[in-house]
Every structure is written in structure tokens, then in C-alpha cells.
Amino acid sequence: MIATRETVSAAPAAQGPQETFVLNLGPQHPAAHGVLRVLMTMEGEWIQRAEPVIGYIHRMHEKMGENRTWAKFLPNTSRIDYLSAMHYTHAFVGAVERAMKIEVPLRAEYARVITSELNRISSHMVWWGALLLDLGGFTPILYAFDDREKILDLLEGLCGARLTYCYYRFGGLYNDVDDEFLRGTRDFVQHLRPRLKMYRDLVTDNVILRKRLTNIGPIDAEMCRRYGATGPVIRGAGVPYDVRRMEPYSVYPRLDFKVPMYPECDSMARYLVRMDEMEQSLRIIEQALDQIPTGPFLAPKVPRVLRLPAGDYSYAVEAARGRFMVRIVSDGKEIPYRVRLRAPSFSNLSLYEEASRGMILPDALAMMGSLDLVIPDIDR
């Protein structure tokens, strides 16, 4: 796609003594993860205006939701944000369960928490590696993928898929968590702790990375609020907003964890939030492993063909990138009347235009990396 006339002229054109030019960053660019295009009006290396242009892999998931049954939409949910598929399925399943008033067995809830948190760690690892890739460090992504493989192996052994799990079912799980998985998860927790320390020594403490991220890309709490940015972005702005705490779901209220928060509002704060979140996720997993009861993994008497009572219901979860909300509207039929997917990356990216104004290109890309964008999540 070429810059259209309007988009170019919408930018403050070259008037007055300063000269600008338009840089078309993407849709194929090494730093635009996936097919994101950013139309940058630059003055030298300074960004005057960076307008994200999205929709290149729009798949109209919401329309798909309207032409198939509730159960048939389930696989779609793990394909919106393929890096945190568990959370997305959780939200959809949760919304339907909320409408149907299905009581989910405790074992299934704990299993959901464990798998969700594993998924969060794996998602953060991809982010970590990709951020470092954006910053020009190639090695960390492979270390992260080494550890992430272990998570994927665990989840593959559990539900048979490595990325698009589709593991949760209305009222429970696809299949039971076996002992092998629980043991493997315990081993993994032990394995990851020293690795996280290694990450810290190799990257977090590195002076170059500190210089690249500290005081770069300030996004304050007010901006987060006005744009609806959530997740590590808002927690890096000093607001301890976490759906697991604010609108508790599943068995999170029974678990003891901290919400990492840094008040610096810069890219480093967002970075540190995610790094701390990995440790907190490990804590959560350990507790859940200790507490997980035996019992059924699927609620009894879940009808095969669901007819939700008319009305609208929403369910929000804390996905790896922030607040993911499913809003479903039912008219009492067996297919949804409306499925609305509120994607965190969408809101997080929408503040990019304002936040990147006046930055220079490398910093703006570092900030984009610290937002942890997943383009299919934005485009849906």
C-alpha cells in the first residue's frame, strides 16, 4: 500500500523553515512485529507524527462469532492473540459460564490458573526476546525461546497443541491435568528461577539496555486512562491495575501474589513490570500446584447445544498484554447475537501516536517494543 494523498497531507507538511518527510515504516519492517504500518512524519530522525495504520490481517473474528454456535467459536478465541491463547479462551469461556451460571469445578479452575500463568510467562518471553531483537540484541530471544519451549512442551503434553491451545471448555477443561504435567510444571518452576536471574544479569542490568529504555517513551497514568491502556503499560505508569485483583475471577483471590508496579512511566518501567510478572507467575503456579484439589475437571450437565439466556454479559481477564474483555450479547438462540472482543494491544497501540511525538526513531521503536504489540490481537 502506498501512502495516500490524504494521509500525507494530513501530516504537518513542509511549511516554514523545518523540513519533514514521510517514512513508511512497514507493513513489512523488521521492527513492526507482524504487518503493522506506521506512517511517520519525520523531521530528520525526529518524529513529528506517527500514525499507526492497521487492518492488514483483519479476520473479522467478531463476525465469525455471529454465524456459528457458542462452542464452535471457541477455537477462534485462541487465535486472536496467539501468544496468550489461554487467557483469551478463558475470557470467552468465562463469559458463557457467567451467562449460563455454570459452576466450574475447583480442579479445573486451578488448572486454568496454572496454564494461564504458564502462558503468560511464555508470552512475556516472546516479548522479551522480540524487544531485544528490536534493540539489536539477537541472543536473548534464543535463550528465551529455549525456556519457552519447555512451557510449550508442557502444554503440548497437556492439551496437544503448542500455541493455539483451545484447552478450556464451557464448565471446565478439554482434558484433565495429569500428574506428569504437574510434575513437569514443578520442575519447570525450579528451572526458571535461575534462568530469570540469568536474564537479569545478561540483559536487565546491562548498561546499554538501561540507556536504551530509561526515560524513553514516557506514558503516564493519565494517558493510560484516557486511552484505556492496560496491563504492563499502566502498571509501568504507577497504577496497580490488574484485572486479577480489580475484578477477581477464577481462583485468583485464593492465591497470594503481588502486582508489580513501577512509577517511572518509561519503557524501563514497563520492562521491569513484565520481568517481575514472570516471577510472580511462578509464585502463583507454585501455590496453585500446592492447592490443586482432586475431582472432576468438567462441570456436569453442561448441555451440548448452549442457549444462553438473553442479555449481555462481559468477562474480563488479565491477558499477557492487559485487560482482555469479551462482551457477548445473546438473544436466546444457540448462536451469539454479538461477540465483542476488547483487545488490549488495540488500546495500547492507540496511544502510540500521542506518545511518540517528538521522539527519535530508535527510541520510538524501543517504545513500540515495550508496548508488546501483537498485531493479530489488534486487527482481530
Binding site: 504537518p12 523553515p17 514516557p218 493519565e222 497504577v239 496497580p240 503481588k258 508489580p260 517481575d276
Partner: protein
């Protein structure tokens, strides 16, 4: 450098011809082309050829300095200037004027060049040192000369350079600052608040805020 140049005569002549040819070609490119960036390239080529000629004039030090200063500094500075101002030759409105202008310039140049060449070939040069054991163009001699006979000009040159740096800074920056107020959008983020300040919707007082972990940033 040893006085007896180690190549055989033919090679020497060939290399000399190469150096001279490079100089001529570079100069021609520099003045004939319309694209200014090629012109800079021509200047660079001229300097490379000139360095070769200096070598033949028994001054390798000057040859290397020519490359270091002209190619490494002057040309690059000029290219930088070109990048900042994109000055391709404006097209002459009428063809006739262009031709006339070029012809006049060429005439003057040819006259001057021929005159100088004629003079230099006819001039009664003292032939004292010609062909004799060539002067030692070593660094030591230059250094000694610079620090004894020519120490005052040497110091003056350094002062000139310093002043040039300062002057260039003043002029270039001054333009920028003057241009700033009417520049339109702010260069520096106006919307971005100070990252150090406390956020505005920090949970007030006794809110049901869970325990926070604010690990100090290492």
C-alpha cells in the same frame, strides 16, 4: 622513502599517468556534472589523484595527509552540507543563457589555464635542485620546520581552525534557534509529562489496593 623508486620505469610511468589521469578526470567530473553529489565525488577523485602526484613529488606524508584531510574530512563535510540542503543545480530557464554562460566560463578558464601553462613552461626556473638528489620529504623535516621556522603560522593555523569550529557552530546553531519559534510542531514532546512525577490517578489512601511490589530499579 628511499630515493630509488622500486618499480621499473614503465610501471612508474603507468602509475604516474594513472595519477595524473585521475586528477584530470576528477576535476572534470567535479566541474562539469550537474549533480552536486557527483561533483563532490569528482573532488574526491581529484584528491586521490593529487595524493598520487604528491607521492611522485617525494612527499608521501603530504600524500597521505591529502587523503586524510580532503577525502576524510573536507569531502565528507561537503557531502553533509549537500545532504542538509539538497542543492541540485536549478535548471536554467533559457537554454541560450546556459550555453552562453558555459561558453564564457569555458573561455575564461581555457585562457587562464593556457596562460598559466605557457608561463610555467616558459618561466626561467632556477634549476638548482632539479634532478639532483631529491629533497628528503620526510616527516622529520616537516616537523622540524613546523616547530622552528614556521611555528608562528603553525600556531595561527591552529587558532584559525579553532575559530572555524566555533564560528561554524555559532552560525549553524544560530540559524536553528532563530528558526525554532515559527517551526510549527514542537521538536520536543509537549504532551509527554515528566516521567518522574507521580501519576495523577494514583490510588488514594485506603483503597483496596493490593500489596504492591515496587522493586527498586536496579
Amino acid at each position: 622513502m628511499n630515493a630509488t623508486f622500486p618499480f621499473s620505469e614503465y610501471l612508474v610511468t603507468a602509475v604516474f599517468a594513472l595519477a595524473a589521469g585521475t586528477t584530470i578526470a576528477g576535476a572534470l567530473i567535479a566541474v562539469m556534472t550537474t549533480r552536486i553529489i557527483r561533483s563532490v565525488g569528482g573532488l574526491m577523485i581529484t584528491c586521490l589523484g593529487l595524493a598520487g602526484l604528491y607521492y611522485f613529488l617525494h612527499s608521501p606524508f603530504l600524500a597521505l595527509m591529502e587523503i586524510l584531510i580532503y577525502v576524510g574530512a573536507v569531502c565528507i563535510t561537503i557531502v553533509f552540507g549537500v545532504m542538509l540542503s539538497e542543492p541540485d543545480e536549478p535548471a536554467e530557464p533559457r537554454r541560450l543563457t546556459r550555453t552562453l554562460r558555459s561558453a564564457a566560463a569555458a573561455l575564461v578558464a581555457v585562457l587562464v589555464g593556457l596562460g598559466l601553462a605557457y608561463l610555467s613552461l616558459q618561466g626561467p626556473w632556477p634549476t638548482a635542485a632539479a634532478g639532483a638528489a631529491p629533497a628528503d620529504g620526510s616527516v622529520a623535516a616537516i616537523g622540524r620546520a613546523l616547530l622552528t621556522t614556521y611555528s608562528l603560522p603553525f600556531e595561527l593555523i591552529s587558532i584559525v581552525l579553532l575559530l572555524a569550529i566555533l564560528g561554524a557552530l555559532v552560525i549553524a546553531r544560530g540559524g536553528r534557534h532563530r528558526a525554532e519559534p515559527e517551526a510549527g510542531p514542537a521538536r520536543r514532546p509537549a504532551a509527554v509529562s515528566n516521567p518522574g512525577t507521580t501519576p495523577q490517578i494514583e490510588p488514594a489512601g485506603a483503597d483496596p489496593v493490593p500489596e504492591l511490589v515496587t522493586t527498586d530499579s536496579r
